[in-house]
């Protein structure tokens, strides 16, 4: 927090003097109750751009004031914001007192430096802590979906992968506590391995603007951070318990933080989540239960000019995959699609059987920073991640309980960053990153490796500068360069190696010829440049305009390069291509924002060209003894995505608020002049919220979500001969499902247990009308409906 305060102080102290006004107002901000000084309080001078923050002792200085009467707005994360009027007469002294806001008493500051600095010319969408707590028993992807322009690519209802403006997987980078997640994010059925309850602040940047983390975030960057800890003697915590009717399960999460005035702080957080089979309105979705266990620890020492922090988190989840989605070929697919209901429906159970995923993710981070006079803030971070992914298929005989996929991905990263000022109005952020990653695919599965063994080395350098031209204009420019080297050992089927012509093209890569398989050792280099250029213009009257151009470049991921074989959960054969080049994206994004207390909105249109876009799509039918499978091959093409997102809130009466969101994205393959597959359909959500602080802080909300039918899609249907009926039948894997409308109800009230503790009780109903529907962006949409009505009860105790 003090880093931030320092920044703002520094920033504000360079304000130019206007007229002959050079008087100062000095004083302190204290707690009305116990007189303790409040550090990090923000004081805004009404009618100007000037704002300062109080230092460690709670004192402040505002300069450049005239002999006049001013209004000040004083705010602090843990207090009620209050207005004061002060008459300035020469250099004046005034102390401000704030009252602790009970509701916020135990909340912690969520504004961290990393998020506020990620990009200044791309609008950041944030999810508040209050909002996040409503998703305690859901996933990160579910919470992100509440933002405009974000959908999700689902596998059933428990594997939820964020889809940002139509892009997903390797194109959406997730940064967890300053660590770029390396959790085999390439797979469309791999959900992010983050416990939503460990996140204090969730920020989304739709675009590649956050160059300090990556240059390949073609779709966007999601930044999750732990709650910040104040520098004061304090012990606080919270516990959330959620129970849901659908899935007959729930979650419990608890968090305890201890902090000291000296700067030491520590916190521990844990979550346990358990659900049985979920239910669609008309049937049980057999084998869709989940069991998740997470724990995270935080330990740190934070002073104004230096600090060190250690973070560790363990995420472990077991996810059942809809039993009826495991199929043996095209003929089974016809049966499943034509059936209308899942082919396998069993009684409700908590058991999770094959097909299932069992994923463990360890993340450890050590970070230290030091402010060096005349240089700036230097930070050094080392992080280690280990992702172990087990996937279980329906198997036979001795292999029955053995995983079909067993991958262990280890990643080590070292980052050195420098935050500095070249001049008063030019800030520079620069750094260098080194990363080593190794993947080990356990051969004991008895199934050929889906992702081969590889070692990958990355080296990245970046610099981002922003220039405050004047009160209205801010310009930002950045560049990043990444070098990637991959050393891969892969076994190819000889028949595939030859059918692709690799035996001629890459003859020198062969290490060993085993007859039916060849072992090859590709060594791949990728050079990727990325850049961003943007401007922010304060139009006045609460209007701001953001404009940003970003160039991003992404090296192909192991799945795009090396896939070769049957993917059971998709009932198709997937083939990568060793010859791929990096994908290059050019995106122009504009945002018009009105930030007003009564009526606020953002409108964000964008235009996104992606060259060498890696896309997987069906090419042919392959015969096997098991019957015929559709072959999906990765290929590179040039794509265009365009669309816009709208967010608006309107306080149309006291205590009443109306929220609106609308998102549209169109994606085209410019080479083939066809629509892109899996583009989110147009969707809109409208919500009415009633809040009454005087009535136990009552909050009641009714939300309507309408998702249109996707009318633009490529036709990937294929024909198969069905021996029983002696007819050819079309396997319709393309047609999107119909539009649907959902109503969701949510409510909460607060009870003060004593001066320090508060109980929040929430009750809600999702899919209020018990609507049966299917979602175009659910990979299992052919086999089953989405979830039916769900009643849920949340209890939250802050202490």
């Amino acid at each position: 927090m003090h880093k931030y305060a320092f920044g703002v102080l520094l920033f504000s102290s360079f304000y130019t003097f206007s007229q002959n006004c050079d008087y100062t107002l000095t004083g302190s901000v204290t707690d009305q109750h116990d007189g303790s000084s409040l550090s990090g309080a923000t004081i805004i001078v009404a009618g100007t751009q000037q704002a300062v923050q109080t230092d460690l002792d709670g004192s402040f200085t505002i300069s450049g004031l005239c002999n006049d009467t001013y209004s000040f707005q004083v705010s602090h994360p843990e207090c009620l914001t209050k207005g004061f009027t002060v008459k300035i007469n020469g250099n004046t002294t005034k102390d401000f007192k704030l009252e602790h806001h009970l509701e916020e008493l135990n909340q912690v500051t969520v504004e961290g430096k990393t998020t506020t600095e990620s990009s200044k010319t791309l609008v950041e969408n944030k999810i508040s802590r209050e909002e996040l707590e409503r998703y305690t028993s859901a996933s990160l992807g579910d919470a992100l979906k509440s933002l405009s322009g974000v959908s999700s690519l689902n596998t059933g209802n428990t594997v939820v992968k964020p889809l940002v403006n139509g892009l997903h997987s390797s194109r959406v980078v997730i940064v967890n506590n300053g660590v770029r997640m390396e959790d085999q994010e390439w797979g469309a059925e791999h959900a992010p391995n983050i416990d939503i309850n460990s996140v204090g602040n969730l920020t989304l940047i739709k675009g590649a603007g956050a160059l300090q983390y990556s240059g390949d975030a073609v779709g966007g960057v999601i930044i999750a951070e732990s709650p910040r800890v104040p520098v004061k003697d304090s012990l606080y915590g919270k516990t959330l318990i959620t129970g849901s009717s659908n899935g007959q399960g729930g979650a419990i999460t608890t968090q305890l933080t201890k902090s000291y005035q000296s700067g030491w702080h520590g916190s521990v957080q844990g979550t346990l989540k358990r659900f049985g089979d979920f239910e669609a309105p008309d049937y049980v979705l057999s084998n869709t239960g989940t069991f998740e266990r997470n724990v995270s620890l935080h330990l740190g020492f934070n002073r104004f000019d230096y600090g060190v922090e250690a973070y560790y988190s363990l995420y472990k989840t077991e996810i059942g995959i809809l039993r009826a989605s495991h199929l043996g070929g095209g003929l089974d697919q016809i049966r499943a699609i034509n059936s209308g209901v899942p082919l396998i429906i069993n009684d409700f159970t908590y058991d999770i059987n094959a097909p299932k995923q069992d994923v463990t993710h360890h993340l450890g981070r050590i970070k230290a920073f030091k402010r060096v006079d005349g240089l700036g803030k230097v930070s050094l971070q080392y992080d280690f991640q280990r992702n172990n992914r087990l996937e279980f298929d329906i198997r036979r005989g001795d292999d029955r309980d053995k995983a079909s996929l067993d991958l262990e991905l280890d990643t080590h990263t070292v980052m050195l960053d420098l935050d500095t000022r070249i001049k008063d109005e030019i800030k520079l952020k620069t750094g260098v990153m080194g990363r080593y990653q190794t993947n080990f695919a356990d051969p004991n599965t008895g199934v050929r490796r889906l992702i081969p063994d590889y070692d990958r080395y990355n080296l990245g350098v970046y610099a981002i500068a922003n220039y405050e031209v004047n009160d209205r204009w801010l310009i930002e420019a950045g560049a990043r360069f990444d070098y990637t080297f991959m050393d891969v050992f892969k076994f190819y089927r000889t028949s595939f190696w030859e059918s692709r012509g690799y035996d001629v093209l890459f003859a020198d890569l062969v290490v060993e010829d085993l007859g039916t398989q060849v072992l090859v050792n590709p060594e791949l280099d990728f050079f990727n440049a990325s850049a961003t250029l943007g401007a922010t213009y304060d139009i006045g009257n609460d209007y701001t305009l953001f404009a940003n151009y970003s160039l991003a470049s992404r090296a192909p991921n192991p799945s795009e390069l090396f896939s070769e074989g049957l993917h059971h959960s998709a009932s198709r054969i997937e083939l990568g291509d060793l010859r791929f080049d990096s994908e290059v994206s050019n995106k122009i994004a504009l945002t018009l924002q009105k930030d007003d207390e009564v009526f606020a909105f953002t409108v964000s249109p964008y235009l996104h060209f992606i060259d060498n876009f890696m896309i997987i799509e069906p090419t042919e039918i392959q015969q096997t003894i098991r019957g015929n499978f559709q072959v999906w091959e990765y290929r590179q093409t040039n794509a265009l995505l365009l669309g816009f997102d709208i967010d608006a809130t309107y306080d149309f009466a006291s205590n009443w608020q109306f929220n609106h969101q609308f998102s549209l994205v169109k994606g085209y393959d410019r080479t083939l002049d066809l629509p892109l597959i899996n583009m989110p359909p147009v969707n809109t959500s409208n919500e009415i919220v009633y809040r009454n602080p005087d009535l136990k802080n009552l909050r009641v909300a009714l939300e309507s979500v309408y998702v249109f039918r996707q009318n633009e899609f490529p036709d990937n249907n294929f024909e198969l001969f069905v021996p029983q009926t002696e007819t050819f039948e079309i396997v319709d894997v393309s047609s999107p499902p119909d539009a649907y409308h959902l109503l969701n109800f949510d409510s909460s009230v607060d009870f003060n247990l004593n001066t320090r503790s508060k109980l929040t009780v929430g009750f809600g109903i999702s899919n209020l009308l018990d609507e049966s529907y299917r979602n175009y962006l659910n990979r299992l949409r052919y086999y089953a409906d989405e979830l039916g009505r769900n009643y849920f009860l949340n209890l939250k105790i802050n202490y």
Binding site: V378, F496, N628
Partner: protein, 186 residues
Amino acid sequence: MKNLKLVVTAVFATLLFAACSNDDDNGTPEPVNEEEVITTMTITLTPEGGGTAITLRTRDLDGDGPNAPVVTVSGPLTAGVTYNGVIELLNETENPPEDITLEVEEESDEHQFFYTRSGGLNVATEYSNFDNNGDPLGTEFKLSSNVPSAGTMTFTLRHEPTKPNNGLASAGGETDIAASFDLTVQ
């Protein structure tokens, strides 16, 4: 500045360490032979009372790879003869080939073969072996043909079908094998 130098040194030392630590890992990965893939199905039809057996075989040595299965039928069936059929399933990616029929027969409750005639083929089939509950398994069967005809015979092996069932259409489960043979009865 001193601190910065220290920090820079530390970074490069770590990178160097990471880069070097891999050098001892010079072994190449071991190959994986698909354990469950069925590459070969051989159906031997032996005439009751003696005579030359007829062999139907589909063989796909690269499993899910690009090569299509090679399907062979050793000769025509004779009208008026009843054949004893035996199905053998092999995984020939392993050496020696693994007999998958044994696994299927061990888990007879979870498997069933179905025989589908099409295109005017006029033959009758009857299950000869059964699971522990007395429901058909079908790795052994009887096939008889009374009149000359020609058409296609499809053999389907379902894993975890509903048992008992009224045939393929209502059997459910997952297809492990679906192979068609062009047959002639003369």
